[in-house]
């Protein structure tokens, strides 16, 4: 059983509040997305139909991984994310309206409707994601390399699932980043499953931070989906990166409340598993912790929650109100002139 929240953490109230509000925002965003996704998919489920067609990978339960490190980043730092990217995007400050419009396939979207939920690009806050497992790590290496070449102190964070740690790109990138001593942090979100295959059936080590020793770099492990422990591990990793002390692998034990994608029958796990995980919910725990603090009132918490939800509601409304792109615009943007 997790202990976080029982002791006073060495994290400022301001940061805790930021993390709480972001986690609420992410959770609410994903809940709204799960609903929007089902519009037009009943009574018969057709993945290509509805308001939000295509695959949908939601991050409900995995919020601590994103907020615990993004709290240490600025607009100048780069984040690459995988196929399950909404929590990272929100924590990195991606334009929520344009992001939602993109997921709805609208012309006002980040990619004018050409990318969709797995391909979100917001250069304003240096965020990108992609649908190929492990492939974002080399891009983060390139961002880290640019930072070093330009003499900046910005860092690059590549978020991946634990399944991606068995892809060649993981090994090649970490070796290269280590050889060149780059400001790179790879965050491995261990949600126990690569789609359906459990980690112990796919991974030769207990946790992927142990693989850091293979590259001669630092590794850290965060258990219990704990945003405060993630905050601390990330604080050290980001400081190392900013100070020219090279890359870090952080693995966080996190929980995926939903299927790999919406519509996943989840036959690979016991039906008591998710209700058990939800008992350990990090948002509930952080709320309790904040409410026990003398400096935070119930009204303060409600204000944060209301603000977060309002921003999400406005983003969904913007997406719904936006137009679909002109079909012929499909022919544009292959090349820039």
């Amino acid at each position: 059983m997790t202990k976080f929240g029982e002791k006073q953490p060495a994290v400022s109230l301001e940061k805790l509040e930021w993390m709480y509000e972001q986690m609420v925002k992410i959770r609410y965003y994903e809940d709204q997305m799960a609903e929007a996704y089902m519009e037009g998919k009943t009574p018969v489920f057709n993945i290509g139909a509805g308001t939000v067609p295509g695959e949908m990978h939601l991050a409900t339960g995995q919020e601590p991984a994103a907020v615990g490190i993004c709290v240490h980043l600025t607009k100048e730092d780069t984040v690459t994310a995988p196929h399950r990217p909404h929590h990272h995007a929100i924590a990195k400050g991606v334009d929520l309206k344009k992001m939602t419009a993109e997921i709805f396939g609208k012309e006002t979207g980040l990619g004018k409707g050409k990318g969709g939920h797995m391909h979100l690009f917001d250069p304003e806050v240096k965020f990108s994601c992609g649908g190929i497992v492990g492939a974002g790590i080399p891009h983060a290496v390139g961002a880290a390399m640019t930072s070093k070449m330009k003499g900046k102190d910005s860092v690059a964070v590549a978020f991946i699932g634990e399944g991606a740690a068995n892809a060649g790109a993981f090994h090649e990138s970490l070796n290269l980043a280590a050889v060149w001593n780059l400001p790179l942090i790879v965050v491995v979100e261990d949600n126990s499953y690569g789609i359906s295959v459990p980690k112990k059936a796919s991974t030769s080590v207990e946790s992927n931070d142990l693989r850091a020793s293979a590259y001669g770099i630092a590794g850290a492990y965060v258990k219990d989906n704990d945003p405060i422990a993630m905050y601390k591990a990330s604080e050290e990793a980001v400081a190392r990166a900013r100070n020219g002390q090279g890359p870090t692998i952080i693995e966080i034990e996190t929980y995926r409340y939903l299927g790999h994608f919406q519509g996943d029958p989840e036959l690979y796990r016991d039906e008591t598993e998710v209700p058990g995980l939800r008992q350990l919910d990090p948002i509930t725990k952080l709320r309790k912790m904040l409410s026990e603090s003398e400096s935070v009132s119930e009204a303060d918490l409600e204000t944060m929650e209301k603000r977060a939800k309002q921003e999400v509601d406005e983003a969904y409304q913007f997406a719904r109100d936006s137009s679909y792109p002109d079909p012929e615009s499909a022919l544009k943007d292959v090349f820039s002139s």
Partner: protein
Amino acid sequence: METAKKRMLTGNKAMAEAISQEMEKDPNVFVLGEDIGKYGGIFGSTQGLIEKFGPERVLDTPISETAFIGAAIGAAAEGMRPVAELMFVDFFGVCMDQIYNHMAKIPYMSGGNVKLPMVLMTSVGGGYRDAAQHSQTLYATFAHMPGMKVVAPSNPYDLKGMMVSAIRDDNPVVFMFHKSLQGLGWMKQLDVAVDHVPEESYTVPLDKAKVVREGKDVTIVGIQMMTHYAVEAAERLAKEGIEAEVIDLRSLAPIDKDTIIESVKKTHRLLVVDEDYLSYGMTAEVSAIVAEEAFFEMEAPISRLAIPDVPIPYSGVLEDFVIPGPNNIYEQVKKMMDEA
């Protein structure tokens, strides 16, 4: 003027000079790849760069094509202008995800919000007995897929001018250089691998084919070595009164339809010659363009010469049999003229 004309460079030196001049001009340009530092590139394309710009801008990488081509993409997204070398195009298999799913698609998927101003340069071609895994051109494999400009210059002048254009282009450019046209001391010496190259910087467009020999009887479209073989064949045909027009395609994507159509409207006959596999390749593309846009101009069926859908064999007699040469081109044109 006289002295300028005498400035002769090999293909590899022309390429390296282009990169060097762009590196001097723009601090965002840098080079990375395997053995591109002190070695100067296995095919000499980065000769002298590390001495001039140091290891901070000329980066030898581990044998990790996915990581360093992916890193070039990440750096380009941050505003750098990387020139990455994939040592042999045949090695694309270990990194095609980065090349095709990312480099070629990110600008589109981002709705044009992310630009990737990068060059992926790679050596192509056979004819020197390096067998199936080191002798392909794979022109069409890359040109087939949208999102990349794909060029294949055939002489030192174009190698320099097109490399300058490629580095300055805001889009990903796959720059294919032919090993035999680098003018390297350890390969067969070809006159066409040495050419007049002005010292000052200049550009050659990435979307224009070039008529390298004018003629009225038949159009031969070639690329890189096939262009040179076509010129050789044309000179022999001229002695028999057949005037072949030879087009150096230079750019596979975008392809210069106008130059091809204009030529066949004059000659009414077309032979397409390629050092890539026959099926679904450049010869098919050029033939389809002419069939669609100039069918009624043609006086003879379109003809094609290419690798006959087999991997490149090792033994010299076998390799020479599958790669089109000047003699094949000569024979094919003779046949086309006799049939008409």
